[in-house]
Amino acid sequence: MTTTHAEPRPAATATQTEPAVRIRGLVKRYGGRAVVDDLDLDVSRGEVFALLGPNGAGKTTTIEILEGVRRRDGGEVRVLGVDPASGGRDWRARIGVVSQGEGAAQALTVHETLDHFAGYHARPRPTAELIAAVGLEEKAGTRVGRLSGGQRRRLEVALGVQGRPELVFLDEPTTGMDPVARRQFWELIRALRADGTTVLLTTHYLDEAAELADRVGVVAEGRLVEVAPPDELGAELRRAATVRWIEDGVTRQVRTEAPGAVLRDLLAARVSGDLPGLSVTRPSLEDVYLSLVGTPSTAPAAPEGDLR
């Protein structure tokens, strides 16, 4: 008889084994309308998790509740084992935030800004290293007020990771960045991940979520409609393939879950075995996403709440 002895894990305390973010039944209402509606979510330590969803789906509200800057109306939330509503300075020191706001004074240069905020952290990343990581070397001496929108986002990203946080929240971090800056940002996130940092980001960009995230959560109308690794997202939706070919000058198409059988039948019926314009496609990530959140034509019109 063999017994498996569990190796004692001295460092595995409760705080280290529990997820970085744990949300149960989160509710937030504005004027009676629930913008976050009974949302559950776990983000493991060291994971990169992307919240994907259309504007107004409740992504920013959720993130702000996790950051402890917005009150919730119901549910249970733990961020690094602490309720954000009562998180103190030591807790804040462990999280980094890149919000949608721009929290740097216009009259300071990039370098001055980072140097100033370095003094708020116990062990800040060196300013030069941060500037290089977000690709602002040429703008280090430029005042924040003269930066482009994308450059300001990059500065915000640098400020968000300056204190070597265990967990980083990024709310639409790449909005306004050009493609080169976005790729540079992706590299930065990968480097953070390699260091063991947990990352929770929101984004509109599917390619960004697919590129960066270990798991993607799709939010629609305040609820998580699906959580999965990017390439497994909407597995059922993706099973259906579309077979297209041209017959007598007309494009024909068949939606099927068994494209192989369809192809065999098609080809068997052809003497020449040739089928012009033949293609088999599966829904792209974008198609899956659109059906998950409900395309504009099928989505119920969002009530305008208390606006008249």
Partner: protein, 277 residues
């Protein structure tokens, strides 16, 4: 980015509030002197007004044979203190809240005390610098006598400090008013201008209509101005004050009361962000 310490390494405590406060003071001063508008409107304003009014009304006299410039220096010094404290702080905080700078501080876990200390340090330095510019100008260019002796300098000192303190806490308090930063700035500027007329900065306080005097007596600027007169004008001029004396006790009481009221309002209303939804 190069590899860093693993995230599980025990984390040292964040820097103390005092250290952040020092950084904030340096930052606030740097920002203040980089904002041209602020430098002109709250810092250079008293100096410019002294030059203008001395050029126009320099030959006039105020009750008690006091030359206009002597009377005016007290008023404009008091105004200067109000501007570098109340106006500068109120408008700056409203703007910083609106453009997300306070949000950043909140997310960093900045102790509010460190933030306020930065503002207080800014007020201290800019007020001192402004007076250090204004007083010699008045003395050497317009022959205005400085406080006669140590006792008068001490009066000048406590009046200035209490006034700046009241202005700072009231500035923080009004920054919490609802509305955009632009509307708060306009409101504060308009209020400050009207208050200057009511408080006897431009005209002799005795020449003002009674209702104006009574309104002014509610606010700190009138007492700040009167306290400054007691430091700069000869003792005989006290006969031309409303009470026939400098009313030092009441001045200290009113200013201290505003400091306390302002501090209580600050603690109860200060927010890092605009109203939560």
């Amino acid at each position: 980015m190069t590899a860093v310490l693993p995230a599980t390494t025990p984390r040292p405590a964040p820097p103390s509030a005092a250290r952040i406060a020092l950084r904030r003071v340096r930052l606030e001063l740097r920002l203040f002197f980089r904002e041209r508008q602020q430098v002109v409107f709250s810092f250079a304003y008293p100096v410019i007004m002294l030059v203008i009014f001395a050029a126009v009304l320099g030959g006039d006299e105020r009750p008690g044979d006091v030359p206009f410039t002597h009377y005016f220096l007290a008023g404009i010094a008091a105004t200067g203190i109000m501007l570098t404290s109340f106006q500068a702080i109120g408008t700056a905080i409203a703007a910083e809240r609106e453009n997300g700078q306070l949000e950043r501080l909140q997310l960093l876990g900045t102790p509010p005390a460190a933030y306020f200390a930065g503002k207080a340090g800014q007020v201290l330095v800019t007020t001192a610098a402004q007076l250090a510019l204004l007083l010699p100008l008045a003395h050497f260019a317009y022959d205005v006598p400085m406080p006669a002796d140590l006792a008068h300098w001490l009066t000048f000192g406590w009046v200035a400090v209490l006034g700046a303190l009241a202005g700072t806490v009231l500035g923080v308090a009004v920054s919490a008013l609802r509305g955009s930063a632009a509307s708060i700035t306009t409101g504060i500027s308009a209020f400050a201008i009207v208050l200057q007329f009511f408080s006897g900065v431009f005209f002799g306080f005795l020449e003002l209509p009674g209702w104006m005097q009574q309104v002014a007596a509610i606010f700190p600027l009138k007492w700040l101005t009167q306290g400054m007169r007691s430091a700069f004008l000869p003792d005989e001029a006290a006969a031309f004050e409303i009470a026939g004396s400098w009313e030092h006790g009441r001045t200290a009481l009113v200013l201290a009361a505003w400091v306390i009221i302002g501090a209580v309002v600050c603690v109860r209303t200060f927010r890092w962000r605009r109203a939560d939804g």
